[in-house]
């Protein structure tokens, strides 16, 4: 295994900037690693070898010409397959988009290219980002590099596994109910959900538009912050993009790395302090809270009484939005068409195409969303869920009057075995119990590795107020400075 793949993105970028390593060498080292291990991990749905080498050479040429390049120039990156990449297959892990090559780049992708970063390929995920294990991919599951019989989390299991397995130093995920943070927790990587509106949704295949948030995945907190800085910021092409400066997440990560949290007030979410979580997860969580105290933080318990209703509210709001968003898959403008035999009507062709193109979980959510939005049930389901969303937001607002950040375990359980939760879809939903409240509120949250339970990674979740993304990076970096990083067994 080449030493280049073990470097952090920050160190690799520094070597490339100093001329010790070319972007092409860095890229080839990662492509070699993908060729070596991805048959077993299956983090990628598409590897763009030729495009990656070409992009790396272009960066090397620009550097040779004396051009000033960004802090991550030449560093390879993996992109979740829900992000539109011009000319490169983009499927959202669905059969309905098999073979689609978008005619444009998502804003996140445009910024990555402008930063001189090198896209290695597209990562596996639960179909349309609906799931918590990557088992709902139409192209087969991803396997956790820590234990190939276990799930890598979801929906962004491919991005997390690629980073954990040293196939890429960095990756992009998207987080609607925990799809960046929960995979981060179960693969021992760092995953951040920025403030909703802090990163652009333009070119992100929509699942639940009021919740979807692209964000960074990496092995260290500083790397995560460096990537956050590249992709964040106002985008006129996304009307919900926030027209404010990006919080200085990189400075916050460096400050946190000093390990001094004197004067920081940390709130423990009372409602997430035990029930439903594995004992091993809670043991790591308690140790980490103890460590925060030793770093100087003032730790208090805070009650957020409506958080217990976040999961049910989410599983009404997200399916409702998805049932509307996925109406665009109509067998006309892109993707699959089935049954167009000259006799079937347009409506029949749509129904046959959607039946053939969507997997079970996507169909279940479309049906639930259609139900929750139907006239007889709207007030009791969708309308009521939106009111609960208001109450959850108020819980956050009042908590942040008392503390600077809230913490909890990221997910109630460590990586489970493949197949363990697919028979009962609701058991799968429980993986997102602790991550969902933040999405409903819209604030930022990060998962940072906190320890191991029976040899499997456990994450600490840090939640911060809207547009205070820097705060969570400071705490996360402080945690990392005291517990260290975690390396999976050799693949």
């Amino acid at each position: 295994m080449s030493d280049l793949i073990k470097l952090t993105a920050a160190d690799l970028a520094a070597k490339i900037a100093a001329g010790d390593v070319s972007a092409e060498e860095a890229t080839r080292a990662h492509l070699d690693r993908i060729a070596e291990v991805d048959g077993r991990v299956h983090a990628f749905l598409h590897v763009d070898d030729a495009g990656a080498v070409e992009a790396a050479r272009a960066v090397d040429a620009r550097r040779a010409a004396g051009e000033k390049l960004g802090p991550l120039a030449g560093v390879p990156i993996a992109i979740k397959d829900v992000i539109a990449t011009k000319g490169i297959p983009t499927t959202a892990a669905s059969k309905i988009l098999e073979g689609w090559r978008p005619p444009y780049d998502a804003t996140v992708m445009t910024r990555i290219r402008e930063a001189g970063m090198v896209m290695l390929g597209k990562t596996n995920m639960d179909e349309f980002a609906m799931g918590s294990s990557t088992e709902y991919s139409a192209y087969g599951p991803t396997y956790n590099p820590w234990d190939l019989t276990r799930i890598p989390g979801g929906s962004g299991g491919g991005s997390a596994a690629a980073v954990a397995g040293y196939e890429a130093p960095l990756a992009i995920g998207t987080d609607t109910g925990g799809s960046i943070r929960q995979p981060g927790a179960v693969t021992g990587t760092v995953g951040a959900k920025p403030t909703y509106g802090g990163t652009s949704r333009y070119g992100l295949i929509a699942f639940s538009s009021s919740l979807d948030t692209p964000g960074p995945v990496a092995r260290t907190v500083l790397d995560t912050a460096l990537l956050h800085e590249v992709i964040a910021g106002h985008d006129p092409r996304d009307s919900t993009s926030i027209p404010l400066p990006v919080p200085d997440v990189v400075a916050a990560a460096r400050q946190g790395a000093t390990g001094d949290l004197t004067g920081v007030r940390v709130g423990l979410v009372k409602e997430f302090s035990g029930e439903g979580a594995e004992p091993g997860v809670m043991a790591v969580y308690r140790d980490t809270v103890e460590a925060l105290t030793k770093l100087g933080a003032e730790v208090v318990e805070v009650s957020c009484p409506h958080f217990q209703y976040a999961l049910p509210a989410y599983y009404l709001i997200a399916p409702s939005e998805c049932s509307s968003n996925l109406a665009r898959f109509d067998a006309v403008r892109f993707g699959l068409r089935v049954g167009d035999d000259g006799r079937n009507s347009l409506e029949d062709v749509m129904s046959l195409t959607r039946e053939a193109g969507f997997g079970d979980e996507v169909k279940r959510r479309i049906i639930i969303g259609t139900y929750a939005l139907s006239s007889g049930y709207y007030d009791a389901y969708y309308g009521q869920a939106q009111k609960v969303r208001t109450l959850i937001t108020r819980d956050f607002t009042s908590a942040f009057e008392q503390v600077d950040v809230l913490v909890s375990p990221t997910t109630p359980f460590t990586a489970f075995e493949l197949g363990a939760r697919t028979a009962d879809p609701y058991q799968m939903y429980l993986a997102d119990l602790y991550t969902i409240p933040t999405n409903l509120y819209g604030g930022p949250a990060i998962s940072v590795p906190a320890g191991l339970s029976d040899g499997l990674p456990v994450g600490l979740q840090i939640m911060a107020p809207t547009m205070a993304d820097d705060r969570m990076y400071r705490i996360a970096a402080a945690v990392e400075s005291t517990v260290g990083t975690f390396t999976p067994p050799a693949l």
């Binding site: 892109f334 169909k363 049906i367």
Partner: protein, 99 residues
């Protein structure tokens, strides 16, 4: 009592343009019932006077500068279509012959 019947699931699937199979209906009806019974817990919250939140960012009437920027060409816009004809998306017949 079940929150949702097999017949309701079949009706919702039709509305959603999903040509689900009998086997899927058997499977989904039970699964969706479990999910709906669980999410119905939102009804436990007393929220009559609470305004709904549709979106976490309180922005209204977001406008941008009215500047012409290049868009997709016709060829690009049609590049992913399953079928096209005469520079347009081709759709299956919408009206039956006798109409």
């Amino acid at each position: 009592m079940a929150a949702i019947s097999r017949e309701e699931v079949a009706h919702l699937a039709r509305l959603s343009r999903l040509a689900v199979t009998e086997q899927e209906l058997d499977r989904f009806a039970g699964q969706l019932d479990v999910i709906l019974q669980s999410v119905a817990r939102v009804g436990e919250v007393a929220a009559d006077d609470i305004p709904p939140t549709s979106h976490s960012v309180p922005l209204v009437n977001v406008l941008r500068e009215d500047v012409v920027v290049p868009g997709l060409t016709r060829e690009e816009a049609l590049s992913g279509a399953p079928d096209s004809a005469e520079d347009r998306f081709r759709v299956p017949q919408i009206l039956a012959d006798e109409e």
